[in-house]
Amino acid sequence: MKIVMVVAVVVLCGVLGRGLANSYVDRKKFFIELRVFVLQLKSDINFSMKKLVLIIDEVRSNTSSKIFEKLLSNYKQKYLIENVDANQDLFFGVDILSESEMAIMSDFFMNLGKTDVFNQNEMINNFLKRVEEFNVGAKTDSDKYCPLYTKLGILVGLFVALIVV
């Protein structure tokens, strides 16, 4: 019975630790999906000249990041349908980004579609460089903190088990 309890406490704390690291996993997923979106934009703007709404709908239906899907959904609803010019609406429900990341992304999304194909290309290329940096940062953080939080959880679990049992 005691062994079962020890195992249960350790597993539970391990899972809790992993759970605490979830935001890092979400960030990693988010930036991977953002990169896919930007690449898709680049190709669609240059070749098929597809309308922004169509590109967004396509990416939204294929994305594996719920948070990124939320961001695109906010963008479509607020800027392309309601046409409201309120910056904070873009990040409603998206709470994994830092202030500086939000500022850069907001600047990008606010200018999306507003210029000709040449300026859009330039803008996308510049943004893509930043997204690559975000991607590397998010991947490093995720690789570093996920195992760390899980290990810490297991350690705490063992400690709790030691005291209780």
């Binding site: 703007i45 000249m49 922004l52 709404v53 507003k114 210029t115 000709d116 194909v117 040449f118």
Partner: protein, 304 residues
Amino acid sequence: MLKDILPLKIYTALTLKSSMMEINEVRLRVGKPISVLCNTKQYFLGEQGLCNNPNQAIFATRDMLTDIVFKASDFSIYSINEQLKQGFITVKGGVRIGVCGTVVKDEKIKTINEFSSLCIRLPHLIKNASLPIFNHVVNNGKLNNVLIIAPPGGGKTTMLRDIVYQLSYHGYPFNIFIADERGEITAGVDGFNLGNFYDSLCFLSKSESILLGLRGMSPDIIVTDELGAREDFYALKCAINSGVKVIATVHASSIDELKNKSEFAELLEEKCFDRFVVLSKENGVGTIEGVYKDNLTKIYGGSL
């Protein structure tokens, strides 16, 4: 449609004292008062509607112009680059927006940006507008090649649109092919209902469109707007020489002005057109100044 592309403030002001049916065009110039052509009279657009005092008018800003083009392009200005290069964009409902700004050139025009002026022209379907001249288009079942001559904003496209409609309405089962380079005549796929016998090809140059229609759609009549380029005349002659009738329009104020257009010399000499219809804005848009025969003698309107 205009509601979707204009800033709310401008749209509200436009509809306060006037109906959209009366408005012909809206002009926005950066830093200047917005002007409106309503029933052939020029007004300024104030917050309380149309007015004559420029000091009461709403002034256009660059952001305003960019926003209009942004919305008119379905939030994707990059996607309308081919149209922008030609200096206009056509939006749903056949609304044509003429654009001025900075041209980016690299041997050929790459694009226009930093918009400085917009001329928003509203299309109107005025039923029966062509009735006074309809018997010159088709007489006892015999079709004529017709050239409609009018200055800009003189009602050429409206007349053309109604001719297409009337042909169908009067039960003439002619297959009509519309070479609609700017998407203005038909206002696109979900645009005007111009009867049961027309096919339209939008956003392709007139010359290409006419030849394509000639090959693919075996039309009885080809309808096109605003002839101008040399290639248009070649395509037109191909159509006429193939036994297809042509109804077209051209920018000019009178027969004399038409004669001065060198590119028309050959068509006039060969009497390619059976009838010339001259329109003006004298007593409102679409005033029929006269109808002329192939030898340019007047047979209808004004003093004969």
